[in-house]
């Protein structure tokens, strides 16, 4: 049985945007998304010029942030509440392995802000801030 934090991810196919999750703590976490030429979204984005949509990079960051928020356990859910100062520096193409990281900043009530970044080959391709809202479970 796979006990990795990835099994705690509430997202399922075809919207699981993390392939492997590294260490998850209550403060930070890392994960990898390997982008394959077979990704459904690359069929139309764009024909003959496959580029991973920036919003899906944000989604991958948010999925990781949700795991950190729940400390790798599936006790609560988390929704995206705000995306701030997100900047995309390079495009992501099939074959790229995106290394994601999320670090919790401030918490208030059910909200937590995260500094997030995505790297390909050691280069930052996207970075910004995401606020997540915890849902359900214990307060």
């Amino acid at each position: 049985m796979d006990n990795s934090p990835l099994t705690s991810l509430p997202h399922a196919y075809p919207f699981r945007l993390l392939d492997r999750v590294g260490a998850i703590s209550a403060e930070r976490g890392t994960a990898i998304k390997n982008v394959s030429a077979n990704e459904a979204f690359l069929q139309g984005h764009f024909p003959g010029d496959p580029v991973m949509p920036g919003v899906l990079i944000i989604e991958a960051m948010a999925q990781l942030a949700g795991l950190v928020m729940n400390n790798g356990a599936r006790e609560c859910g988390a929704y995206v509440a705000q995306v701030k100062d997100m900047r995309f520096r390079k495009t992501v193409a099939p074959g790229d392995s995106i290394v994601l990281s999320a670090e919790i900043g401030s918490r208030f009530g059910s909200l937590a802000s995260f500094t997030v970044s995505a790297n390909v080959d050691g280069v930052v391709i996207a970075a910004g801030e995401i606020v997540m809202a915890q849902t359900g479970g214990k307060e």
Partner: protein, 91 residues
């Protein structure tokens, strides 16, 4: 250092922080000291603004608000924030 950080200076600074950090479309001068921060009758802030405000108060004044009861007492109006800041500021 009387007057360097009196309550009315703090109120003015808090109004400016509200407008700047929360990107409010109004002048700091038009915010009333006792206007409710949340709800349509006042500034209409939401919980995400509250998080931003808590971060701002910590950065600007070293005032940490992580207790729900304290938040409900302090995050009411410019008056209540200024009172709490002047009593607890470390920066």
């Amino acid at each position: 250092m009387i007057g360097a950080h009196n309550v009315s200076d703090i109120k003015q600074a808090i109004k400016e922080m509200l407008v700047k950090r929360l990107k409010l479309k109004m002048d700091a001068a038009s915010i009333k000291d006792d206007a409710p921060l949340f709800g349509d009758a006042g500034l209409g802030l939401d919980s995400i603004d509250a998080l931003e405000l808590v971060v701002g108060l910590q950065k600007e004044y070293g005032v940490v608000i992580n207790d729900k009861a304290v938040a409900e007492r302090v995050l009411v109006s410019v008056n209540t924030i200024a009172e709490h800041v002047s009593a607890n500021k470390t920066a």
